[in-house]
Symmetry: C2
Subunit: 218 residues, 2 copies
DNA sequence: CTTTTACGTTACGACTCGTAACGTAACAGA
DNA sequence: TCTGTTACGTTACGAGTCGTAACGTAAAAG
């Protein structure tokens, strides 16, 4: 989300869109190589073949630039809806883990730290980084509730917090969560939240066997 | 954990312990007022009535100093053992929340960020900040397992991860967890992990009524 | 009285930041 | 074609913080 004041009026020399691309691309490269803390705008400009002032014409600082850069990586498809609560949760979850794993944990932590003091930046961080996963898993959860799969007294937001927190926490302190660990955690939560956990599990297993029968070795 | 090489040998002028105290105290004050990011060693020294070099004689940098400073706040008593799994978990948990709440969330986040690259510092951070709560809740969990209150297939470490992650996550992104929210989360988890959740709940409620009968208004 | 270390003061070089100044390049409208 | 506006790259500035070194002085041990 770079400034567009300049390009808004038709007058004057237009921004070179190639520079925008080169800067975002260089930023992603350097984030992977150096992390957020050691990333300097000087080096971003150098690698993009341009200059520091060119960056400041587009973004007011490092945080907004990086936010735009990683947003291009966190774009993620919608969660599935197969009617199998357990499968859908696992799946909608794995989609994010895959996206998160493409970004160094330190980057998210440091970026948030710099966004947090500014209300608008913080909102954009949350909207870009944490909300997508929350929304996708939330949608899947809502469908489960609509189907009557969850206990009526189950707290939707609390389940979201627990599961979302686990991802973030592990990303920061214990390495990224594996798909298997995520699946296991979901099962633990659902065991308490489900109306009839055994039924959900049976349904899931049945679909899995059916899938294997169709695609497995003959 | 300041350097003690100088004081180890009996020779030479001894460190002034008053300076140690003043520095740690000034650090805590400034952490509360400015947070970690804006805290400068210059200002710490100034407020402690000493000089920057005096800090570097004791700590190699900002992170180790702050780590020592907040360690003095995170010292926390042992968890209770009343035989009531639900009560003990709630209680051992609240003890920590109380300690965590005395520290700005940003401080923990920023401090970890700076400790993470250095293996030894990182280890000390984990040992100082996250392990105490993990251990205390873990001990309570182990007693619950020993009592046979939990399912035999319940994953102790996973439960710890889920609950610990929630605290950290909320501290960073959604404000500190309230006691009530923590209690509710524990109940959600235990509903799935318990051998007989209803029995645990009954036990807890019984003790609570007994407590109120003894201490309530006549 | 010598040795050793801590103390406060001052100052240094290094790094990054955000911005300003300049001449040049590219576009819109008269 | 000419004028106004904005982007571009280059260069450079002041500000802030870092980690460290140099000094003379103070306080302990032997």
């Amino acid at each position: 989300m770079s400034k567009e004041r300049g390009s808004a009026t038709g007058a004057g020399r237009p921004r070179d869109p190639e520079i925008d691309r080169a800067l975002l691309s260089a930023t992603l490269e350097l984030l992977d190589e150096l992390g957020y803390t050691k990333l300097t705008l000087e080096e971003v400009a150098r690698r993009a073949g341009t200059s520091r002032p060119a960056i400041y014409r587009r973004w007011p600082g490092r945080a907004p630039l990086v936010l735009d850069a990683i947003a291009t990586r966190l774009d993620v498809p919608s969660p599935p809806d197969t009617g199998c609560t357990l499968c859908d949760l696992d799946e909608s979850f794995n989609v994010f883990l895959a996206a998160y794993r493409t970004i160094r944990p330190e980057v998210l932590n440091a970026l948030y730290l710099e966004c947090e003091p500014d209300a608008e930046l913080k909102a954009r961080y949350l909207e870009t980084v944490v909300e997508p996963s929350r929304r996708a898993v939330g949608r899947t959860l809502d469908r489960a509730i609509a189907r009557g799969d969850l206990r009526t007294d189950a707290d939707r937001d609390q389940l979201l917090d627990l599961i979302g927190a686990l991802v973030h926490h592990r990303a920061l302190f214990g390495g990224h969560l594996t798909d298997a660990e995520a699946q296991s955690a979901i099962e633990t939560l659902l065991r308490g939240a489900a109306q009839d956990y055994q039924a959900l599990l049976d349904h899931s297993l049945a679909l899995e066997q059916e899938h294997q029968a169709r695609h497995g070795a003959p």
